[in-house]
Symmetry: C2
Subunit: 308 residues, 2 copies
């Protein structure tokens, strides 16, 4: 069982969907990744930054799940990163209402000494230079570095983004971002171009339409579970990344066949995340519920056809 380093924001989110709205609640990429990965009982460390306004109970909630927080810097007189957004009726698009970087604006991640030899590094969405600085700190080449990013960095720091993409094994990116990064409409062609930028594995997230895993000329498709309603999509991508990287850290098998399973675990965990606001559902989620839903994913996708 390998160790997992998780780098990303820990934040306050205020969310508005057609189903209601929240005050400032627990959010952030590292939070969702950590909660999802905790289902695999790996040794994980979150590396992040918060302000003095961040409640101890939220920190306790993470450390109770065996997430090492020694790499989470607390700036006593600073404020925690705050994001607020409103989802449109179709839940596929949203408006950002507020982004207050606060302490996250000065984030210089420092990986705890005993995690510098981790086997899996999960780089949540952050400035690509910050992501690169994490890779620099690893004393042993990780078995797998996974990078999540978004269109914002393509618009504002493309060269830095290319520099970190080149150094990772897996990139997770949504369909529109894959198209923007490559200038290609076809996701097959876009994935090939991203391979050429460095990553062996390309995961293209398509929201309600699932996720595609590409490796050379092989593709694997994990659908999203069809749900009666998507209550709040916030954190679904990070939860996917947490399930994906947590499963891989646990198994230590980085073959295409095993990455398929990691994609299914990521999709399974993400299917819970959207059922309630923010982290609410992930906090109550049991391993038994995960296993039951995995069985649903099997029913949803598995068939028996004899080939001639």
């Amino acid at each position: 069982m390998g160790k997992l380093v998780i780098v990303g924001s820990i934040a306050f989110d205020a969310i508005e969907t057609p189903f209601g709205k929240t005050d400032k609640i627990l959010g952030g990429a590292a939070t969702f990744i950590g909660l999802a990965a905790s289902h695999f009982k790996v040794d994980s460390a979150a590396v992040s930054i918060v302000g003095g306004d961040f409640p101890q109970e939220y920190l306790d909630l993470l450390s109770e799940r065996n997430i090492d927080l020694s790499g989470v810097e607390i700036i006593k007189d600073g404020k925690t990163f705050f994001w607020s957004g409103r989802y449109h009726n179709d839940m596929n698009s949203r408006d950002t209402l507020v982004t207050e970087l606060n302490t996250l604006g000065d984030f210089n991640p420092v990986i705890p000494e005993n995690y510098r030899d981790a086997s899996v590094v999960m780089l949540g969405n952050l400035h690509p230079i910050v992501q690169s600085s994490v890779i620099d700190q690893m004393t042993k080449k990780p078995d797998l570095i996974v990078l999540d990013t978004m269109n914002f960095w393509m618009d504002s720091a493309l060269e830095d983004l290319h520099n970190v993409i080149k150094r990772v094994d897996v990139i997770t990116i949504n369909d529109e971002e894959a198209r923007q990064l490559t200038g290609e409409y076809s996701l097959v062609v876009a994935a090939r171009k991203i391979h050429e930028m460095g990553p062996k594995y390309v995961v293209i997230k398509k929201g309600e339409h699932g996720a595609l895993l590409f490796h050379n000329d092989n593709a694997f498709y994990a659908p999203a579970l069809p749900l009666e309603e998507v209550f709040d999509p916030t954190g679904a991508g990070d939860t996917f990344a947490g399930g994906f990287s947590g499963y891989l850290a646990k198994t230590g098998d980085f073959s295409f066949e095993n990455l398929k399973k990691a994609v299914i675990y990521g999709s399974t965990l993400a299917s819970f995340c959207v059922e309630k606001f923010g982290t609410e559902r992930m906090i109550t989620l049991t391993d038994e519920e995960v296993q039951k839903r995995l069985a649903k994913f099997k029913q949803l996708t598995q068939f028996e056809i004899e080939l001639n």
Copy 2:
């Protein structure tokens, strides 16, 4: 092995895509359905209407594939249904440039005597009253009636549409149409409402995002094969319907488990259809190529996860 009745248009299409344009070429729902179903070596009959301008070579092409054409009426002094459309750059939307109903405007399908006891009836997209009239002619209750339809009939003949939906076992419909028919955004809820209208099985086609099969509370998801390029989507939905209904007519097994396989066969055949203009690819398609692509679909979707 059961008999398959295919009812739908046989047409001329003129297609424009970002990759080029065609003159009037062979098209129509019954054509695509018949070509796809022919891979299952079932006894099938196309029931349709064409004008005196319809080339004998096109008729030969269909009858060479064991499609009985005795139910295809030829109006010597009439013209064949003609449709022309232009696809947008993303291939997911199109403008209809020309619709000349011609002989199709007076289509009164007459099922050949020896097909009135067919086990599977595939009702291609037509006026719902015309579709109903086909069901009326069956002397033996078919094992499975499959209905394809589109938003046009929801706008112009909703009551007639409801009357025929009530009489069928399977409906195939795209995601936007399912939402329009039910007023529900969630496809899970939409499928449940359509179940309540009559059909035991609901197939929701999502284009490049694949197809969902619903049966009571069970769902099955068949992805579309990720392709380098979609050259021309014309006929993909009908080809899906042809693969689906052809496989079911061949096997005579109408369980959920077997309908899953039918959806995979439908998706497999549709993945070829979009590779060239109109029916071009379907005409050259060999059974060996179909088997190879089925293997690709297995690779794309099958995984091994042991549940605890």
